[in-house]
Amino acid sequence: MANSTDIYAVPGVGAGLLDVFRRRYLLKLIVRKELRVRYRGSVLGLAWSYVKPLVQYLVLFFALGIVLRVGDQIPNYALYMFSGVIVVNFFTEAFSNATRSIVWNAALVKKIYLPRELFPVASVWVAAVHFLPQLVVLLAAALFNGWRPDVMQLVGAALGFVIVAVTATGLGLLAGAINVFFRDAENIVDMLMMIVTWTSPVLYDWTMIRRLAPDWVLTIYQLNPVTVAVELFHWAFWYPTVTKPVELPPHLMLTGLAGLGMAAVFLIIGQLVFRRLEGHFAQEV
């Protein structure tokens, strides 16, 4: 941008994520476009994003509870799992769409200069919009189970959301940039996304890992930003509804801050790699 000492700008060199913030109106329009295009020609439109999580919740409730009898080990298991599942849903949608975002927008990337970080960031926003209906279903299920959270627990949930959003943005920038050069990246990410559900305590609880693995493995396991967010969500939405004594991981808020630190590291790495590779996007995509 022009200033008094140097009125000349270098075309094609921006301020990265800062430019995304400066052009948030454009970001808003891109997010709106993505949503509009996603639900084109559909009668229910965005309502689909309420139907899907509801079905997912019912499947967890009936299939796991009545068929697999998970409820014997985890009280309110459907709520427990669903609060983790929506965190993982948000993360996988955000991360895998961000990975593809540059390639999907090749027409624009090739023709017009604009901060390319806009595309991965928009993918995360779109995932956040889809997260909202899932949260509504979760809240309804929690209230149905007599949910009474305290303020810290709600702060914890918000922290968990931020951790996942920042992590997905950072990793999305990284993988999205690499995907321009090697389309293998999106397949690798798809594969990772299958694993993510199992590297966090979504369909089981963390004490099972403690029983099976040595301490240092448990520590690494618990530093995974997605795990941190899942546990924060358990604490916020499931724990207040449980009457039986259950054991939560210790120092949840502290781990939360560590998770935020991890997320920030991912974001910085993602942005740095993205900036390094960005100059070749238009000619390689």
Binding site: A9, P11, G12, Y25, L108, F182, D184
Partner: protein
């Protein structure tokens, strides 16, 4: 006054790579990096020139001479391998009409999206919206999805958005072949008006008559180097001699 665009010692090389596979790269690395993985192609080589504030400059040359590459470098879509480009003020590029248009959005939504992509703020777009639609002359279809537009309607709307973005430097690539003759005249008049307002224009076109009419100066490129630089009619004549 002063230079609006300064181009110094530009070099741009493209990789002629036809696959995007990690496997091939790994195989190449394992085999001890034998041979070039990719072929290289110099699109531009040691290109330097300046464009003054308020000038209308044509980039001329036959297909493959590097004109569009140069325009993309000035707009920042691609970065040079060597040399520098400096621009003053807001640059808007019409590298391709309607590049930012999405077929599933209505004309109205596309106007907002495309104008924002070209650097306008929300307030500027709201102010200019009616003018843009009036210029395109497709008022009655503005809420129809763009995929139902005829190609003429599409180009009209896209061009209308672009000329209303009010950049300091306006890059135009081969888009003056827009629509029917009355609309083309209107576009040329608009281009002239932008130039009269003191904006800098960089035009790429094969329409040599039009160029000698509207441009002050011409830069002729051939095989990626500057071959001639001078008044537009001389540049056109120079190019015609070698045709």
């Amino acid at each position: 006054m002063g230079a609006a665009v300064i181009v110094k010692g530009l070099k741009k090389t493209f990789n002629l790579r036809h696959s995007h596979s990690l496997k091939e790269t790994l195989v190449w690395l394992v085999k001890g990096r034998k041979g070039d993985l990719t072929k290289k192609f110099d699109a531009l080589h040691d290109v330097s020139f300046e464009i003054q504030d308020g000038e209308t400059v044509a980039l001329l040359g036959f297909n493959g001479s590097g004109k569009s590459t140069l325009l993309k470098l000035i707009s920042g879509v691609i970065l040079p391998d060597q040399g520098t480009v400096r621009t003053k003020g807001r640059v808007a590029g019409l590298i391709e009409v309607g590049a930012g248009f999405h077929p599933d959005l209505s004309g109205r939504e596309n106007v907002f999206l495309n104008a924002a992509i070209l650097g306008m703020t929300e307030q500027e777009i709201n102010e200019k919206f009616d003018e843009i639609v009036a210029f395109s002359e497709i008022e009655q279809f503005i809420d129809t999805e763009v995929k139902f537009y005829s190609s003429g309607m599409f180009l009209r709307l896209a061009f209308a958005v672009a000329v209303h973005t009010q950049p300091d430097i306006f890059l135009v690539d081969e888009i003056l072949a827009v629509g029917d003759e009355p609309f083309q005249r209107k576009c040329l008049a608009k281009i002239k008006q932008l130039s009269d307002e003191g904006r800098t224009l960089v035009v790429v076109s094969h329409d040599l008559d039009m160029i000698s009419r509207i441009c002050d100066r011409g830069v002729v490129l051939s095989s990626g180097t500057v071959q001639f630089e001078g008044p537009a009619d001389q540049a056109v004549a120079w190019l015609r001699e070698r045709n």
